[in-house]
């Protein structure tokens, strides 16, 4: 079970990282702030996934719930800010 879990968590990290990089790349090309806020959201989700990986796989005795939630919430607030102010003119 453990290697499978590692694979799944790594995929989640890789997905978030890919989203972050692709959105930043498009932001640099198009300069649309919606893309910047979305990219920052995925920064938060990437950090969250890395912390989750550490929490569950590497340090099962630790408790990183607080920083994990802070990373997710920070990211999501960027995204919602972007949706509210940039996606609906």
């Amino acid at each position: 079970m453990e290697p499978f879990k590692v694979l799944l968590f790594s995929l989640a990290i890789a997905t978030c990282l890919a989203c972050t990089l692709l959105l930043f790349r498009e932001y640099r090309r198009r300069r649309l702030r919606l893309l910047l806020w979305s990219a920052l959201c995925f920064v938060g989700l990437t950090v969250n996934n890395v912390l989750l990986f550490l929490d569950v796989v590497v340090l099962p005795d630790g408790d990183l719930r607080l920083p994990r939630l802070v990373a997710s919430l920070g990211g999501m607030l960027f995204l919602l800010y972007g949706f509210v102010w940039e996606a609906e003119s």
Binding site: L11, A12, A14, A18, L73
Partner: protein, 90 residues
């Protein structure tokens, strides 16, 4: 103290995922882009996962399985990205 903050943040994150999913659903209806539908479903899975984790608490062993939902969410995003790229090449 910490556990109160964790509970509070867990609820906030759940709601944020739900609202983001609703936005993506609207974007899908507006543009017809399948990528937005996948993102909507993915964020709702993340919301469901966060709700389950928050409600069951860390001591509950079932929490281990709740993470399957979040992994499913991210796999959905990954497959949407892959499909967006395949559609372009055809």
């Amino acid at each position: 103290m910490t556990s109160t903050v964790v509970e509070f943040l867990g609820g906030a994150v759940t709601l944020a995922f739900l609202v983001a999913g609703a936005f993506f659903l609207r974007f899908w209806r507006k543009t017809g882009q399948a990528l937005f539908r996948s993102f909507a479903l993915a964020f709702w899975l993340l919301a469901l996962n966060q709700a389950i984790v928050s409600l069951l608490g860390p001591a509950d062993e079932r929490t281990g399985y709740a993470y399957v939902l979040r992994v499913l969410g991210f796999l959905l995003i990954l497959s949407a990205i892959i499909r967006a790229n395949l559609a372009r090449k055809r």
